[in-house]
Amino acid sequence: MTVSVDERHEMRIDTEDDIALVRRKVRDVAKACQFDVFQSAAVTTAASELARNVWVHAGKGNAVIERITDDTRSGVRVEFHDDGPGIESIDRVMAGGYSTANSMGLGLSGSRRLVDEFSIDSAPGRGTRVKFVKWAPY
């Protein structure tokens, strides 16, 4: 199965306002994929959580937002990257309820529940890369 990229947007996350810009762009791409309002809210919210993580934990980073198509369907793929402190225990963070930023600690674990594919690559001192895909319904 081949995946092609139909649309690609690379955005910087340097300020708090960039979180809203990422959110808006993801919503636009979701619309282009003909997501329904539930799917659109899910993917927009997941992107918002992850963009905020970049800003809160690393101060800056970037997001690549893509509209992709495989043989049968279209979807939204978003990848966040930062060179921040990284995550010491991914398992603990993904279990939910663990936070180093005095928040609910549901950002990563909650986002994963909203999308179809989710991967995270991080280690202390190596920054963090989080990627997710959500596919349009058949």
Binding site: A20, R23, F38, A42, E49, R113, L114
Partner: protein, 120 residues
């Protein structure tokens, strides 16, 4: 551009209508504005209408819930009204506990809820 959330006064109730996309700094400013307005006007209730809001992540959810809890500490009741179905679904799927604030289906129900709560 940083927007602000309009806060209207209806009798002893404040009505705040949140726009489509709520930025973090606008949400934070709103929390302070609403609490100050409650105190200054001697208000007994706060209705936050989020029917226009298209996405609520855990940060914004927390600001909204916290605002209600803070208002309650001050002695005012808060009702969050008009949450869209897709937002309710998203928050529940994420595992976010929206505890600590009253909710109502729409503005009319919310005002009625407050009227019953604050009746003396």
């Amino acid at each position: 551009m940083t927007g602000t959330i309009p806060i209207l006064r209806i009798g002893r109730t404040l009505l705040a209508t949140v726009q489509t996309d709520l930025r973090d700094n606008v949400a934070n400013a709103f929390q302070q504005d609403a609490l100050s307005a409650l105190e200054k006007g001697g208000m007994s209730g706060l209705v936050i209408d989020i029917s226009g809001l298209e996405a609520v992540d855990t940060y914004v959810a927390r600001v909204l819930v916290d605002t209600g809890r803070m208002a309650r500490l001050m002695g005012a009741a808060t009702v969050l009204v008009g949450m869209r179905p897709e937002i309710a679904a998203t928050l529940v799927r994420m595992g976010y506990p929206m505890e600590g604030v009253d909710t109502a289906l729409n503005l009319e129900e919310g005002l009625e809820r407050l009227r019953l709560q604050t009746r003396t």
